[in-house]
Amino acid sequence: MDNVGIESRWVEVGAVDDIPRQGARVVATPRGDVAVFRTLDDAVFALDDRCPHKGGPLSQGTVHGHAVTCPLHNWVIELDSGTARDPDEGCVNRIPVRVQDGRILLAMVA
C-alpha cells in the first residue's frame, strides 16, 4: 500500500547518481531502513529493506529488470509492486518515489 494521501511529505534523500545502476542504497528512517533501487534503465524505486520471507536486506540483493533478488534465499521481489514473484508469496511495503532534477524524493509518513 502506498502511503501518499494519509499524512505524508516528500523528503529528499540524495541524488540518482549516488546509487549505482543495478544497485541500491539504504535510507534510515524511524520506521526502519528503506532500500532505494536504481535499475539499468535509471528508474528509481523504494521498498522497506526487509524481505517478506525472513527479513533479508533487499538493498544488498541483485537488481535485474525491475526486480531484486534477495541475498539470503533468492526470493525475487518486483520493485514496482513489492510483491514476490511466483512461486513465492509475500509483499513488502513500497514507498512512493519522485525524481526531480536528478534528486530523489521519498514520500514519508509524517
Binding site: G14, V36, G55, H64, V76
Partner: protein
C-alpha cells in the same frame, strides 16, 4: 467380442516386478475388460524400475523417482494388489494359489513372473550381518545404511551388476574392493581390450580390483569383517555385496509340477506345460535360453498379453539380439550381439588413444553381428539397429567403424545438422532399448500430444525414462520434430537460466569464439530474453568474461553476489563476518593484538577459529565493514576471500620445521602457494592444503588441490572436498621441487577456471571431464602446462589487489556501505 456376454475371468499374477506388470499393462491395452486381476508381490512395494536401483545407490535418483506404477494405477485399472505376501503354492487341479499369509485365490489364468534370485557362492559366512545381494530395494537400503556407518566394502563379482554396485558405494564415500573370478571384468559383456580400458578407468576412480579371485570364506564375528580368497589373499571389509549372477526363481513352479529346466519352460506363446499357466521374465527358459536384461522381457510381455487377451492369438516370441550398457555416470560402454566372434567372422578395430576410445565391430557375410564400444558409445543405437536389421552392409562397410555421423556424411547428407543422423533412421529403429520404444512411436507421440519436452516424451512413451542413455537421441528427435521450438542441449545439459536457452558450455564457447567482451555483448549476441539477465546468469557471465579477458574485462560489481560485492559473508540477520587472510595459517602476536583491538572497538559479538585455520569475526554491520577492514589493513592484514567463489585458504601442518615426522617444509610451501593463488576467482570456492608427511594432518586429500610431502618430493592430489558428499582426492602425480608444485598448481587451477561451469566445484568438474583428461593436460603435456601456468599468473596480475584497501573509508568504493540518508 468374447467378453461381451460372459462374466469376467480371473487372472492371478505372481510377481509384481518388471515383466509381470508390463504384461498386465500390455493386456489392458488389448482388452481391459476380460479379467479381474489380482497381483501378488513378495516385496512390500508397488512396481518399480529395478534397473534404476543402480542410480538410487549412486545417489542420482531417489526411490519415488523409480516407481513405474503408483498405487493409483492399480486402483484405476481395478487391479487388486497384495504386497508383502508371497505365493507359496499352486494347486493346478483346483486352479488356486495360496499365499504365505494363508490367502487362497482362484484363477482361470495364472501368470508367473517371479524373476530371479541372486546366486550365493558356496562359502561360509553368508549369514553374517553386512552381507547382502543387489537385487531389490531392501538390498539397496542395506548398502546405503552401511555406507553411512562403515568404510570398506567388498563386491564379489565384476560383472555389470557388481560394477554398478561398486560404483554406487564409491560414490557414497566407501573404499571399494571388487573380487572377480576371471582375469578380466565384465567378460560376458566386453572383449578383453574394452574390459582392460574399463578396469583402468575404474581403478583410477578408486576401485581396487582383485581379479582371478576365488572367494573361499566370508569371515567376521558379529558382523562381516572381510573376505578370504583361495590364494590366501585377505581383504578387510564391513560390507560384502554378492553379485556373481542370478538364477531363475522356479521353486513355486517346480512344486506345482510344471516342466522346468534351468527356468520355467515356456513355448513360443509363453505358455508353460500347463495351458492355463503363463510365465514371463527372468524366471522363464525359452528354447534353452534364460534372460537377464529387460529388453527381451518387453517382447515376452507383448506375446503373452496377446495370448491372454485372445485364445486364438498367433503371435510368437522370437529372441532378438541384445545390447548392454554399463550405467556408471561418465563411463560409456556398450556391447551388442556376438562381439567375440569365431573363425567365420571378421573384425574391424579402431583405437584412439588420445581420446581413450575403442571400437570393435564383428562382421559375418557382410553383416554386422556384434559390437563393443568403449569411451564413446554414441553410435551404439545405430550399430544395434544395423545388427538387428541384418541387412548386407555393402558400401557402408568401409566407413562403418567411424560411426553414423561419418556414414551419413559420406552418403551426401548435410553435415552440419546434428539431427541428420537420427533423421536417417527408419521409423522402426529402436531408440530406447530399455523400454523397446522405436523412433516412429516417439515422433507419433510428439505430434499427437503436442509434446515439447524430454519429460513429456518420457511420460508418454517411457523412452529415455529408464537408464537414460538414449536421452541424446530422444532430444534429437524432439529437435527433428519441433525445429527451433525445441532447444537442443548437448549431453542433457540445461540452459544456464531462464533468460536463455544456451547452456553454460555454449555460452563460454561463444564468448571466446565470437570475442564477446562485455555482458551486454554476450546477452545481445546470444539472444537473452531479459534486458539485463538475472541473479543466476549475471554472476556466471561475469566470471566467464573475467577468465576469458583478464586485464581487459571490467569486473561488474552489480553482477556479483552480495558476499563478493561486499567482500564479507552475509549472515542470517543481515550482518557480516570478516575473515582476514593468515598466510598458510600462520599468524603473529601483532596480528592477534590488532584483531583483539578491532573486536573491542567495534563490539564484535563472536570470534571463531575457522576450519581453514584463520579467525572469523561475526556480527559486523554493513556500515562498520570499511572501518574494521581499515584497522586490520593497518596491522598488515588483507582480505581472506572467505566469502568468494575464489581461493579461500591454504591449510598447512607444521611440517619438517617442527614436527618429528615431517619430511618437507609444508608450512613454507603452503605460504608460497597462497601467495601465488590468493585473489584468484573461480567457478566455485577453492581450498588448498599442504601436509608435511603422509600422516596428512592438514587433511590435504579432501581439498581441491592437496599437497602431501614424501621423502622424495611432493604428491599432488586433486578434486577433493568436504561437505555433504565428501570426496577424497585423486592422485595427479608426484613432483620433486617446490617450483614444480607451484607450476602444477597454477596450471591445474587455470584449467579448472577455463573448463568448469559456474558453481561447479573441482570434484564434479573432475568427474565430468575425467582424471585422464586432467592428467593429459597437466602432467603429460609439459608445454601446455607451462602455458596454463603462465595464463594463471597473468590473470593474477589483475586480481591480486586487496579489496579491503580499495574500499577504505573515504574512498569512493566505500560509498555503497554508507547509509545514503537518515530521515528523522
Amino acid at each position: 467380442m468374447d467378453t461381451h456376454m460372459s462374466p469376467r475371468q480371473k487372472l492371478v499374477v505372481v510377481g509384481n516386478g518388471m515383466a509381470g506388470m508390463r504384461t498386465v499393462d500390455e493386456l489392458l491395452k488389448r482388452n481391459p475388460l476380460k479379467y479381474d486381476i489380482t497381483v501378488f508381490g513378495a516385496e512390500p512395494h508397488v512396481n518399480y524400475d529395478r534397473i534404476m536401483l543402480s542410480s538410487v545407490l549412486a545417489g542420482e535418483k531417489d526411490l519415488e523417482q523409480i516407481v513405474i506404477n503408483p498405487r493409483s494405477w492399480y486402483e484405476e485399472n481395478g487391479i487388486e494388489l497384495i504386497t508383502g505376501d508371497a505365493v507359496v503354492s499352486i494347486d493346478t487341479t483346483q486352479r488356486t494359489v495360496t499365499s504365505a499369509s494363508g490367502r487362497v485365490v482362484a484363477y482361470d489364468k495364472l501368470l508367473l513372473a517371479t524373476g530371479s534370485r541372486p546366486i550365493a557362492p558356496p562359502v561360509p559366512g553368508l549369514d553374517l550381518p553386512g552381507v547382502c545381494a543387489f537385487r531389490d530395494i531392501a538390498d539397496v537400503n542395506t548398502m546405503i545404511k552401511a555406507s553411512q556407518t562403515h568404510k570398506r566394502a567388498i563386491v564379489i563379482g565384476g560383472g555389470l551388476l557388481g560394477l554398478e554396485a561398486a560404483n554406487g558405494l564409491l560414490r557414497r564415500g566407501m573404499q571399494v574392493a571388487v573380487v572377480h573370478l576371471m582375469g578380466t571384468i565384465m567378460e560376458r559383456q566386453l572383449d578383453k581390450a574394452a574390459a582392460e580400458l574399463l578396469q583402468r578407468e575404474l581403478d583410477e576412480r578408486g576401485m581396487n580390483f582383485f581379479t582371478n579371485g576365488q572367494t573361499e570364506e566370508i569371515f567376521g564375528e558379529g558382523r562381516v569383517q572381510g573376505v578370504r580368497l583361495a590364494d590366501g589373499r585377505e581383504i578387510p571389509g564391513d560390507l560384502v555385496v554378492l553379485a556373481i549372477g542370478i538364477r531363475p526363481n522356479i521353486d513355486l513352479a517346480k512344486a506345482a509340477g510344471l516342466t522346468i529346466n534351468r527356468g520355467v519352460e515356456v513355448g513360443d506363446d509363453m505358455r508353460t506345460s500347463d495351458p492355463a499357466i503363463f510365465a514371463v521374465g527372468e524366471c522363464v527358459e525359452h528354447r534353452g535360453k534364460t534372460y537377464g536384461l529387460v529388453a527381451p522381457l518387453w517382447d515376452m510381455a507383448k506375446v503373452c498379453a496377446d495370448h491372454l487377451a485372445r485364445e486364438d492369438a498367433v503371435s510368437d516370441y522370437v529372441p532378438a539380439a541384445m545390447a548392454t550398457r554399463l550405467k556408471v555416470t561418465g563411463i560409456d560402454v556398450f556391447s551388442a550381439g556376438d562381439f567375440i566372434g569365431d573363425e567365420t567372422t571378421e573384425e574391424v578395430v579402431f583405437r584412439d588413444a588420445a581420446r581413450n576410445t575403442y571400437k570393435r565391430l564383428v562382421l559375418r557375410d557382410d553383416k554386422l553381428v556384434g559390437a563393443v564400444l568403449y569411451g564413446d558409445a554414441q553410435d551404439g543405437g545405430w550399430y544395434f539397429q544395423l545388427l538387428r536389421e541384418g541387412k548386407p552392409l555393402g558400401e557402408l562397410r568401409d566407413t562403418l567403424i567411424f560411426g553414423q555421423a561419418f556414414a551419413t556424411l559420406a552418403s551426401g547428407a548435410p553435415a552440419a545438422d546434428p539431427t541428420a543422423a537420427v533423421a536417417a533412421l527408419p521409423d522402426t529403429a529402436e531408440i530406447c532399448g530399455c523400454n523397446g520404444v522405436c523412433k516412429g512411436k516417439i515422433l507419433g507421440a510428439i505430434a499427437e500430444h503436442g509434446l515439447t519436452t524430454l519429460d513429456g516424451v518420457r511420460a508418454r512413451t517411457k523412452a529415455s525414462a529408464s537408464c537414460g542413455s538414449c536421452t541424446p537421441q530422444v532430444e534429437q528427435l524432439l529437435t527433428l520434430a519441433l525445429g527451433d521450438g525445441y532447444a537442443a542441449k548437448p549431453a542433457g545439459e540445461k540452459p544456464l537460466c531462464k533468460c536463455t536457452s544456451h547452456s553454460h558450455d555454449q555460452v563460454r564457447q561463444a564468448i571466446v569464439a565470437q570475442e564477446l567482451r562485455t555482458m551486454p555483448a554476450v546477452m545481445g549476441a546470444l539472444g537473452w530474453t531479459t534486458p539485463d539477465g538475472c541473479h543466476v546468469c549475471r554472476p556466471a557471465l561475469n566470471f566467464y568474461l573475467l577468465v576469458a579477458w583478464p586485464g581487459e574485462y571490467v569486473d561488474d560489481q552489480q553482477s556479483r553476489f552480495v558476499n563478493e560485492r561486499n567482500h564479507a559473508n552475509i549472515q542470517k540477520d543481515g550482518t557480516y563476518s570478516v575473515v582476514p587472510r593468515m598466510w598458510g595459517g600462520l599468524t603473529t602476536a601483532d596480528e592477534l593484538r590488532a584483531i583483539a583491538d578491532v573486536v573491542d572497538k567495534y563490539a564484535i559479538p563472536t570470534v571463531k577459529v575457522t576450519g581453514g585455520q584463520r579467525i572469523d569475526l561475526l556480527g559486523v554491520t554493513r556500515e562498520q565493514l570499511p572501518h574494521v577492514w581499515k584497522d586490520l589493513n593497518d596491522a598488515g592484514m588483507v582480505s581472506g576471500h572467505a566469502y568468494g567463489k575464489a581461493l579461500r585458504t591454504v591449510k598447512t601442518c607444521v611440517g619438517s620445521e617442527w614436527c618429528r615426522f615431517g619430511t618437507q617444509d609444508s608450512t613454507g610451501m603452503g605460504v608460497k602457494l597462497e601467495r601465488m593463488t590468493w585473489g584468484s576467482w573461480h567457478a566455485h570456492k577453492v581450498k588448498l592444503a599442504v601436509s608435511g608427511c603422509p600422516r596428512n594432518c592438514a587433511e590435504a586429500t579432501i581439498k581441491d588441490f592437496g599437497v602431501v610431502a614424501v621423502d622424495s618430493g611432493w604428491e599432488l592430489h586433486v578434486g577433493g572436498n568436504g561437505g555433504i558428499h565428501v570426496r577424497a582426492t585423486d592422485l595427479l602425480c608426484k613432483v620433486t621441487t617446490e617450483e614444480e608444485v607451484l607450476e602444477y598448481c597454477g596450471a591445474y587451477l587455470q584449467l579448472y577456471r577455463e573448463e568448469a561451469r559456474y558453481l561447479e566445484r573441482t570434484a564434479p568438474w573432475l568427474e565430468r571431464v575425467g582424471l585422464a583428461h586432467v592428467k593429459a593436460r597437466i602432467v603429460d603435456d609439459e608445454a601446455g602446462r607451462k602455458a596454463l601456468h603462465a595464463k594463471f599468473l597473468y590473470a593474477q596480475k589483475f586480481s591480486q589487489d586487496d579489496p579491503w584497501a580499495e574500499r577504505a573509508p573515504g574512498k569512493a568504493a566505500a560509498a555503497p556501505f554508507r547509509t545514503l540518508a537518515t530521515v528523522e
